[in-house]
């Protein structure tokens, strides 16, 4: 939403993903690291055991562009499967999505279920995830049972078909040398993948890289 009167561009970014994957931890790290004058309160609607019940919310100002303050509203959704009603509410009018995947091999099924749920909930609103600013973060890379990135990519980010022939050209992944976001498979089909980031959110590794990437995509979508 662009507000000419207050000279603000407001964007909504939602962190999605399975329960205990680190969505809230991402927001807590951002809250702890950005200057107090550029952020608002971190609001958590959580249960007494600190599981997100409805959402967490953190507003941050990322700077001024063409005289407009760019204000990002960061939300998390509750990851637990049975909170789908509240999860879906948070997606309303979203501008950008971060999927926080749990790298642990035994959480692969939970990751897949959550990704499917994301596609389904977006589709119910009539939003197409493949046409929106969307990045994936593989969290908990420090754990000994973390699955290899190749496995996570193959399962969670296999790519979607690029139908528009005008977009059939290789687009290198700016964040990973030698890899491509858009490329042609040996079978001739053109696919596009979401940008991905490795993270250890409890230590802050990868948290700002992820936020920067999705915020940039959101603003570029307006440009």
């Amino acid at each position: 939403m662009i507000n000419y009167a207050s000279r603000e561009i407001n964007c909504k970014i939602v962190y999605y993903g399975p329960g205990l994957g680190g969505k809230t931890t991402n927001l807590e790290h951002v809250y702890g690291k950005v200057k107090p004058e550029t952020r608002g309160k971190l609001i958590s609607l959580a249960t007494e055991t600190e599981r997100t019940l409805f959402f967490d919310f953190l507003p941050v100002d990322l700077g001024t562009i063409r005289g407009f303050k760019t204000r990002f509203h960061l939300y998390t959704v509750p990851g637990q499967v049975y909170y789908n009603a509240s999860r879906k509410l948070i997606l309303k009018n979203v501008d950008g999505i971060v999927f926080v995947g749990d790298s642990q091999a035994e959480r692969m099924e939970a990751n897949l279920e959550s990704m499917q749920n994301l596609y389904d909930n977006m589709a119910e609103y009539g939003y197409d995830l493949t046409q929106m600013p969307f990045v994936i973060q593989y969290n908990k890379r420090d754990l000994p049972n973390a699955a290899p990135i190749e496995d996570l990519q193959a399962s969670l980010n296999p790519g979607w078909e690029v139908e528009d022939a005008a977009k059939h050209r290789v687009q290198p992944d700016p964040y990973h040398a030698g890899q491509n976001l858009v490329e042609q498979l040996p079978g001739g089909e053109w696919i596009e993948r979401a940008p991905y980031f490795e993270a250890i959110a409890v230590q802050g590794d990868g948290v700002f890289d992820t936020l920067k990437a999705v915020s940039k995509l959101v603003l570029k979508a307006l440009a």
Partner: protein, 162 residues
């Protein structure tokens, strides 16, 4: 790539018209303040005195509160509850505007819920007309402000050099 899911914008004229309407409403109802919030939780504008109120957090929680309320309505077979009332020493009254925005009023014992509710009805109608204008223009795609970031790729890149 599309620009998100809810790309719309207010001009200075929209803002002036909305603010004038809200100020009149505030005077008539003797409320403390009124906020206009979009359904995704972003604050559009606020008029009146709200000392110490974190309006950003307030707007987000109001939208969430209303959305949850909306779903509760569906579960009991209502199409929607068109308003929401929280009573206390300071009370909050929330009403839907064209299913896009929420009008939120905070008031205390200097007025009554009856008066607020009565005036709210007219105010909702007035704001609905103003908001419809904003959205019909947005759909036609002729709002100059939609293009504020056009060609700003380089500036956006610079913004993220940290």
């Amino acid at each position: 790539m599309t620009a998100g899911t809810a790309n719309w914008s207010f001009t200075q004229d929209d803002f002036t018209a909305i603010t004038e309407s809200l100020k009149r409403f505030l005077g008539e109802t003797k409320s403390l303040c009124a906020l206009l919030v979009d359904r995704s939780g972003q604050l559009v504008t606020t008029v009146g005195d709200a000392p110490g109120l974190d309006t950003t957090a307030f707007a987000t929680l109001t939208a969430a509160d209303y959305s949850a309320n909306d779903q509760l309505a569906k579960l009991v077979g209502e199409t929607d509850f068109s308003s929401l009332f929280h009573q206390g020493e300071k009370s909050i009254y929330v009403a839907d505007i064209a299913r896009r925005l929420l009008l939120v009023t905070i008031f205390d014992s200097r007025t009554t819920v009856g008066l607020v509710r009565l005036r709210m009805k007219n105010e909702v109608e007035e704001l609905t007309q103003l908001i419809d204008r904003v959205f019909s223009r947005g759909r036609n795609g002729d709002a100059a402000d939609q293009h504020v970031l056009r060609g700003a790729d380089e500036e956006i890149d610079k913004l993220f050099n940290w």
